[in-house]
């Protein structure tokens, strides 16, 4: 019986047959349907065609007739059954693990310290809560120490940002000279400045009032567009936070803000004026937030009075768990909004925990402390990592030791004779170091070991990734 694809038209031999894989040049369109004798073939192919026809006549006894090479095409009628699988070309475009980048051990360990730092700061927060809750530490001392630390951190941060801005300014002025790229970057900064609301009317008026200033700098690079209404909150909670690192604190408390859109930033703000002004603004908003929090504390105190203690523990555990797992560990210095789910979860956990404390002062202290730990400390950590790796490692060690010490001091029942079981603290530090080493090293080693199971299949069936030059945002979207 004749197979359905095997009609007479397909018996025509193809004029050219070579084993080149590119199909476009091989077949003439008429091969699909043209009757055999309508085209003049070269002598060779004509001879071949008669030859093959003869063979076909001779071989009709049941053995397979001579076949032409199979083509991966559908518009041409081929003398192969539909389920024919060409051994040579089947799955030839299959790629396995095309973009596999093997991990190295030590860089992996170095990267994992970021996670370690965050886990440790969460532990430290919990330890502080436990201390406050058991009334072993005065809440005021916790918050004063942390605020002092925050202030020092802010000063350092300020210095770094100023240094970076100077470098950036240098680059910008160079690139402005170069021309097109400069204009591009200017356009970008302008767009950024339009998008960002300014917190203080005074600043706007100031910038208008200063037209006489020499056009010394290109329109606001990130610092000038700076302090936004949202930053105002975070900034005032702790002076360390700068405009650039506005965290998600706005989700905690919503405040009226003057969202006057900054107009086209004039290129003639003197940097120092701007900087000082910004600092003043930050301090002012810090004070404002301080007062707001003070006012809110009595409300927070009675927030969860009707909820049982077990529920509170479970809830705060899960919220901190969410915080650790959804934290944006990969974010660099320029991350404007760290993972909001993570920060919100942490702040909610701290609110829930704070609401169990009996005293308004304690509630206030814990909330402020949590904002410092979860909102501002990550920004500082990112900057440290950005600035120098040694400092980053030192900070990691300090945090690990601190967490171990804290857990050692808090865990277990308090011995009667001494208020602070220092021996336990030392043991805790040793254990924490061991656990941290094992965890980072072990997990990195495990991840590298797991790579051998990686089997990514790619092929022509995958949706292509379009390469679009003129727009940047598709890359982010896709």
């Amino acid at each position: 019986m004749l197979s359905p694809t095997d009609d007479d038209e397909s018996e025509t031999p193809f004029p050219t047959l070579d084993d080149q894989p590119t199909f476009s040049s091989l077949l003439s369109p008429d091969d699909a349907f043209a009757p055999p004798l309508s085209r003049g073939y070269g002598g060779d192919s004509a001879a071949e065609s008669t030859h093959s026809r003869l063979r076909r006549v001779n071989d009709r006894g049941g053995s397979r007739r001579r076949k032409r090479a199979w083509k991966k095409l559908m518009w041409v009628k081929q003398s192969y059954p539909d389920n024919y699988t060409d051994q040579a070309t089947f799955l030839e475009n299959l790629q396995r693990n095309p973009r596999l980048k093997p991990y190295d051990f030590w860089p992996l360990v170095a990267d994992s310290t970021v996670i370690l730092q965050h886990v440790c700061s969460v532990i430290i927060f919990v330890v502080c809560f436990a201390c406050i809750h058991r009334e072993r530490v005065s809440p005021v001392s916790v918050v004063s120490w942390s605020s002092a630390g925050t202030f020092v951190g802010w000063l350092m941060w300020e210095r770094w940002v100023t240094e970076e801005d100077q470098v950036e300014e240098l680059n910008t002025s160079i690139s402005t000279l170069v021309g097109r790229s400069g204009s591009l970057s200017r356009r970008r900064t302008r767009a950024a400045s339009i998008r960002r609301p300014t917190p203080l009317r005074t600043e706007a008026s100031l910038s208008i009032a200063a037209p006489s200033a020499p056009p010394s700098r290109p329109p606001s690079n990130e610092g000038s567009a700076a302090s936004s209404a949202t930053n105002l909150i975070t900034g005032s909670k702790s002076p360390r936070l700068s405009p650039r690192s506005s965290t998600t604190a706005p989700s905690l408390i919503s405040r009226p803000s003057h969202e006057s859109l900054k107009m086209e930033t004039p290129p003639f703000i003197i940097k120092d004026v701007n900087r000082t002004h910004e600092r003043l603004g930050t301090i002012k908003s810090a004070v404002l937030i301080y007062c707001t929090l003070l006012g809110l504390s009595p409300i927070l105190k009675s927030l969860t009075q009707s909820t049982s203690l077990d529920s509170i523990w479970a809830m705060s555990f899960w919220l901190l768990f969410v915080n650790i797992f959804s934290f944006d560990y990969s974010g660099g210095v320029s991350t404007k909004f760290p993972a909001s789910l993570s920060t919100n979860a942490a702040l909610m956990a701290s609110t829930v925990l704070a609401s169990r404390l009996p005293d308004t002062r304690q509630v206030f202290s814990l909330t402020l402390f949590s904002i410092e730990v979860f909102g501002l400390f990550p920004v500082f950590r990112r900057h440290i990592k950005h600035r120098s790796f040694q400092h980053h490692v030192c900070l990691t060690v300090v945090l690990v030791l601190g967490a171990g010490l804290g857990v050692g001091l808090v865990a277990g029942k308090l011995p009667k004779d001494q208020p602070w079981p220092w021996k336990r603290g030392v043991v805790g530090m040793i254990i924490s170091i061991i656990i941290a080493t094992l965890a980072t090293g072990g997990c990195s080693w495990w991840l590298i070991g797991l790579q051998k199971y990686k089997n990514e299949i790619r092929g022509p069936w995958d949706p292509a990734r379009p390469i679009i030059m003129s727009r940047q945002r598709w890359d982010e979207g896709a």
């Binding site: 518009w75 539909d82 024919y84 379009p466």
Partner: protein, 487 residues
């Protein structure tokens, strides 16, 4: 050897009144199979008020089964609940072959599963490509592996689709056939097309091609749903550049989707209102009328199993510019298409080349219709599908159907119905999945036995058939072909 005819049930979630490629594939294939003397019914779920049994043209019976529709017209996947009514329909209609369509259709998977339990031959047609990376694909692929472990034969619409399906469901490549989609060429005629007097347009008198002058307008048509995977972002990026390079060019864009807003923004930003016309969604009947307004069809899709629309465009006499993705390179000959990589620059260059070629008159688009008509026809698809049916029912011997070169595999490819053998096939699906699947099969079989007791076969009415059609070529060739093929 007389040609055998079968009772076939096409099962899919997707059917008319919903428009789409799978839907029209099922309809056209069924219609042509009926023309070839088979009996075909379609089983799908109820669409709005369309419940129960409906008849379409050509005596095609459609069962709209009431079922919970979950997402994008796919029904809720309950592994067993479709069985009673499916069994009833199969016995009523004396079904011999169950043919499921589309891998996202729950009805199709259930029908294949239950069909095997009832001792029917099953065929599966895959219409789409899937990746291997995202969660949805992984789930679908596992499900596909489950149902296709025991299917008699699979059909894919392109060779790329075959590779994809073979990988996804771990199939024996010889048990997968490639049968392309087709177009109803009569519905996609060029604007001033007249049938040549001698019947074949290719050798007819050469109508002089209307050459386009350098200032004549060339119209580029785009008809696609405006989604990300249809390459609308690419389209948005290339249109201004093409119009900049070739001022005497116009675009007509038909279709709707979430990316339409981007296109409109692009038109407004670049002030192209008089050069780009957006028609919005159009019905399938109107596609031809839109296509014949243009000279070039641009298809920027990022993934495509077959790409029926480019065949339709070529049939309308349009030169096709398309991205080289999925099964598209297999579909049309090189003189009808220009391929581009899915990159903005390359697509602009390819379209520019196509416009230049159109202007220089090098492309004989007036011949396209007749050529496409001979490449793709539904009756050819039906004929090739029939061979698959012959193969699975044992009409064609296994050696002939699968070839002598079995690639080292010595076992039989005929799927027998013994429960033990079926369980063996499912067991290999995975460490846990294999056992789970076996459990499902056993439950399914017990359910089948229960149904046999609860609703005995004798109590189910057999519905009378339409008189079968005799295919025209059989009438014509009955004497000659039978004489030739006495092997």
């Amino acid at each position: 050897m007389p040609r055998q005819t079968y009772n076939i049930a096409m099962v899919s979630d997707f059917f008319f009144p919903q428009p789409g490629g799978i839907e029209s594939h099922i309809y056209q294939l069924s219609s042509k199979l009926i023309d070839r003397g088979h009996k075909v019914i379609i089983i799908t779920h109820a669409y709005d008020d369309r419940k129960g049994v409906r008849y379409l043209t050509n005596g095609l019976k459609v069962y709209h089964v009431p079922f919970l529709v979950m997402y994008r017209q796919a029904t809720f996947p309950t592994v067993f609940s479709f069985f009673p009514i499916f069994r009833n329909i199969c016995i009523r209609e004396r079904i011999e072959i169950v043919h499921g369509h589309a891998s996202l259709s729950n009805f199709c998977h259930e029908a294949i599963l239950h069909g095997r339990a009832m001792g029917l031959r099953t065929v599966f047609t895959d219409h789409s490509l899937f990746g291997f990376a995202d969660a949805a694909s992984i789930l679908t692929n596992k499900l596909l592996k489950f149902t296709l472990s025991d299917v008699d034969h699979s059909i894919c619409v392109s060779h790329t689709c075959k590779e994809n399906t073979v990988l996804r469901a771990s199939l024996d490549p010889l048990m997968v056939s490639v049968i392309p989609n087709a177009v109803v060429a009569e519905n996609f005629r060029p604007r001033d097309y007249k049938d040549s007097p001698n019947g074949s347009g290719v050798f007819g008198p050469d109508t002089s091609p209307n050459r386009l002058g350098p200032t004549d307008i060339i119209t580029i048509v785009v008809i696609s749903r405006l989604f990300y995977n249809k390459g609308t972002d690419l389209l948005t990026a290339v249109i201004p550049r093409i119009l900049e390079n070739h001022p005497y060019t116009r675009f007509i864009i038909a279709g709707s989707g979430p990316k339409a807003i981007d296109l409109e923004q692009m038109i407004e930003t670049n002030v192209l209102q008089d050069q780009v016309e957006m028609l919005g969604p159009i019905r399938h009947e109107d596609v031809r009328d839109v296509m014949v307004r243009g000279h070039i069809y641009l298809h920027p899709s990022l993934t495509e199993a077959f790409g029926t629309v480019i065949v339709e465009a070529a049939s309308c006499g349009l030169y096709v510019v398309c991205t080289q993705v999925g099964g598209i390179p297999e579909v049309l000959p090189s003189h009808m298409t220009t391929f581009a990589k899915p990159e903005e620059d390359d697509l602009v260059a390819a379209t520019g080349k196509a416009i230049t070629a159109m202007r220089s008159g090098r492309i004989r688009t007036e011949k396209f219709h007749d050529q496409v008509k001979k490449m793709y026809s539904w009756s050819n698809v039906a004929m090739r599908t029939e061979r698959v049916y012959d193969g699975v029912t044992g009409k064609i011997s296994e050696e002939e159907f699968y070839g002598f070169d079995t690639g080292g595999y010595t076992g039989s490819r005929i799927r027998n119905f013994a429960l033990v053998d079926r369980l063996k096939r499912y067991y290999g699906c995975g460490i846990w999945a294999g056992k789970l699947f076996c459990l499902c099969i056993i439950v399914d079989y017990l359910f089948f036995l229960f149904l046999e007791w609860w609703q005995p076969r004798e109590s189910i009415d057999i519905c009378p058939d339409w008189p079968r059609k005799v295919p025209p070529e059989e009438k014509r060739h009955s004497s000659t072909s039978r004489g030739r093929n006495t092997s």
